[in-house]
Symmetry: C2
Subunit: 224 residues, 2 copies
């Protein structure tokens, strides 16, 4: 028996350089609702499910955040984020990495906790057409990260067993979700987490960014 790896990519902070814009877009949305939260705490929540984000907000701030307010926050975040869309660029090596995998015949897909309305901006920056590449967004699953549903759905789209999947992400939510479904997590520092944070969340390798991962791709199963 051989394991033929497939690659499942997170989007924000992994393939496109958008985490810090998401952070300040959330900061603006929260400020406008009078909810005070330190910016680094927002940063550490990016990539997790919006519902869990809201639960953590309630616990950390002690404020009542009902569904209506949460929906308003989501809308304000999406608006603020789209206002920064011009500044969003692919991370170094992101396009090359995806091109390499395609050329090598290694299947890959994208799985993001974001909704299509915000992900569309990033996919455009990356030059990925969701009509051609399997892209799973928050809209298509019941639970987002750190639940494993997004990665399970992405592996299913590739018709690959989840145990053959290498999950590439920048946040501990990617790593936790990967471990939950027995995929293997590879961490990238380009979302702003420290290496140890990712390793403590079960990352089996950590690289700077997609360019650095591409240089070391044979370490994690990137050959056929």
């Amino acid at each position: 028996m051989r394991i033929e790896p497939v690659f499942l990519f997170d989007l924000d902070g992994t393939l496109v350089d958008s985490v810090y814009q998401h952070v300040l877009a959330w900061k603006q949305a929260l400020d406008s609702e009078g909810i005070e939260l330190s910016v680094w705490r927002i940063h550490r929540k990016i990539g997790m499910s919006g519902g869990l984000f809201a639960n953590q907000l309630v616990r950390e701030t002690g404020m009542a955040i009902d569904d209506e307010r949460l929906e308003r926050l989501r809308r304000k975040h999406a608006e603020a984020y789209r206002g920064m869309a011009d500044a969003i660029r692919p991370l170094p090596g992101a396009k090359d990495l995806l091109t390499f995998l395609t050329a090598a015949g290694i299947p890959w897909a994208i799985a993001t906790s974001g909704r299509l309305e915000t992900a569309a901006v990033n996919l455009a920056a990356l030059g990925v057409d969701p009509g051609e590449v399997p892209v799973v967004t928050r809209d298509q699953v019941k639970f987002a990260k750190p639940d494993p549903d997004l990665f399970l759905a992405a592996a299913a789209r590739l018709d690959a067993p989840i145990e053959t999947a290498v999950v590439v992400g920048d946040s501990i939510w990617d790593m936790l979700a990967a471990a939950r479904c027995r995929a293997l997590g590879v961490g990238l520092l380009c979302g702003g987490y420290g290496a140890s944070e990712l390793q403590q969340a079960t990352a089996f390798r950590v690289y700077d960014d997609p360019a650095d991962l591409l240089v070391h791709i044979d370490e994690v199963g990137g050959r056929r």
Copy 2:
């Protein structure tokens, strides 16, 4: 012999919640000069001397950045940062921590790699009057962090031996500068570094933010 601790505080990311705004202000400045740099790499440079920042930029991007261009970048950063000044808030517990130290008769000072033009916004948010509290800025020393000059100057302003100083900061540059002058580094996570990054840079304790440090102040010499 007893060591009577004095506290030397970094400003951005340590007492005020301004790191992420600095990061995106630098991003805007660099973009406007056509210099592409991933946002997380900017984040990891915040708090270091502008000259060293420029040296690292040259190495990482391979671009020629002369003094004139550096001065233009600095000006654009300062402009963009001041445009976000309304959003700058003290970090949780920052005012309480300083009030506690003052009430306990424990001397403290502020030492920042920033220039007074940007630091002024933060001091105002914090309610610190540089006419009353010793504040050492980049303008007053030859080398900024990770060189120890700022902390040496701040200790001198308190008339305290540097070996009695506890340096509180959010970045590895604070910790390295503290170690260089035999002060003791205490790391805070509220600037967005991971705990291990600070520990690997010699932090002897790490806390979430000023509020968390205040709860544990007796661990690091905060009693008389």
